[in-house]
Amino acid sequence: MIDVKGLRKTFKNHVVLDGIDFQVAPGSIFSLLGPNGAGKTTTIQILSTLIRADSGQIRIANHDVNKNPEAVRAVICVTGQFSAVDNTLTGQENMLLMARLLHLNRREARHRIGELLDRFDLAEVAKKPAATYSGGMRRKLDLAMGLVGKPRVVFLDEPTTGLDPRSRQTMWELVRDLAASGVTIFLTTQYLNEAERLADRIAVLDTGKIVAEGTPAELKRRIPGGHVRLEFADAAQLDKAARLLEGAVIDDSALTLRVPTTDSVGSVRDLLARLDSALVAVAGLSVHTPDLDDVFFALTSEPNKKEAIQ
């Protein structure tokens, strides 16, 4: 549904997108994950015909974004941090504005708007100006407005940034329902758990390049196993344990040891048994399985380094 090849974009002398490729299958949720300044918003702006790429092939629903932007606009909707609702108008009027611009006839419009307001739980506040809405309600209205035109591809630019946990949960459910109904979803986020919970496939974007792509499970597999963190009461015990366990990483200041392990319970039991038989006293223990945080930190550059680049 979305096909991107060799996408490049430079603003002045700053390379924002340095040749990225990806494909999104119809009806799936694709998440572009990356820190601030990675190029996520620029990617959405290019895919949604707002700005032109310097080079690259972009097709959305088989329409070339450069050659036929109008056909692309007819099948997409964009919501998120740079899209907006009309705060002066009521929720209902905002929806009606969309329906009019899409040239729906009156009956069709009323039906569609009523259905969306119900589904997004906005019917009660539909007659109030959008300026009085909470952040979560406004974000829902924003998405609902986009859906008036029954888009085939929905772009969500950081859809839950700044929302409270409950609103975020609601948004996630709406996005999942949308994908289940066959709509293709392209979402950017800086929240790893958001990508993990929603996306079928994730691409990690960092300083204009895709540094990893795959299903959440595949990405997690790219990071070598989990680890066990052992805490010790004193340096002597720590030393003893470090000599015993090959590949362990010492953190002297915290008197802890990071020991790589596989995920299994057995490997942790073996580890403890070895320490026990060598009479090493362990003060504390925690088991870490790899999550997308590890993937993220392993794959993206450090923030300080990044700021220096910008």
Binding site: N66, I76, A84, T88
Partner: protein
């Protein structure tokens, strides 16, 4: 193809939106446009009217309220530009224009809606000012034909100035930036023949007042409403309006389409 046939209906949709905005905030819209012209009507007429009337550069047959009203009409349209520009700027900076640009709608409609809607608002304000001037004693000598011509000129410069205002609003990055752009415009009427005849000014100021764009427009309006000679000022007035409209239109389109696909 499809897009062309929807320009009219999309423009009407956008116009409806702008008018709804004006109706939702009637006091903001009306007050910010009308406050200054009304204040000037009261102040100029009551404080300085008698003095200007006595001045030997003022022809004795012209009453000050008649002299003042055409200038007030222009000043109202300039303050109307203020609301027009800020309204367009709000749309540009708060993201709704971005939303429109990702939709398959007639592109011209967004700006058209702003210009037509804001022009209607300004014309309404102008009619209020003319009404108040009448109550104060404004008695033009114009016949129906003169009024129609004057009305046409008013519509022309209001539309032209509104294009300029919308362009300024859409191209500015913030309301503050919009305001600083407007500031220049708000000063211009004071350096014109709106309040006092240019003959009474020092030569340098008089030269500016004579040659700046608003003076010929005011002269032409005076001519049409009061029967004073117009001469080549009429042509200059229309030329300035057409110039403003052209610059505003091109600038607004460029700002709207900036860095986007056609």
């Amino acid at each position: 193809m499809k897009r062309r046939s929807y320009v009219l209906s999309d423009t009407l949709t956008m116009l409806r939106r702008v008018i709804l905005h004006m109706l939702r905030n009637p006091f903001v819209t009306i007050l910010s446009t009308l406050a200054t012209p009304i204040l000037m009507l009261v102040m100029m007429y009551n404080l300085f009217g008698a003095v200007v009337q006595q001045a030997d550069t003022m022809s004795s047959s012209t009453r000050y309220i008649d002299f003042l009203t055409p200038g007030l009409i222009l000043i109202t349209s300039i303050y109307g530009m203020g609301t027009a520009a800020l309204r367009a700027n709000a749309d540009a900076t708060q993201g709704i224009i971005t939303r429109f640009r990702t939709m398959s709608i007639a592109r011209a409609s967004v700006l058209n809606g702003h210009v037509i809607g804001s022009s209607i608002g300004t014309l309404f304000s102008i009619s209020v000012v003319i009404g108040l001037a009448f109550l104060t004693g404004f008695r033009p000598t114009a016949d129906v034909g003169d009024w129609l011509t004057a009305g046409g000129l008013i519509v022309l410069f209001v539309t032209a100035l509104t294009w300029l205002a919308v362009a300024l609003g859409v191209s500015s990055s913030s309301p503050e930036a919009t305001n600083s752009g407007l500031y220049l415009l708000f000063i211009l009427p004071f350096l014109s023949n709106a309040f006092v005849p240019t003959d009474s000014m020092t030569p340098a100021v008089a030269w500016i007042a004579e040659n700046q764009p608003f003076s010929p427009i005011i002269d032409t309006l005076r001519g049409l409403l009061l029967g004073t000679p117009i001469g080549d000022r009429g042509l200059m007035a229309v030329a300035w309006c057409v110039g403003f409209a052209a610059v505003g239109y091109v600038w607004a389109q460029a700002a709207y389409n900036r860095s986007s696909n056609g």
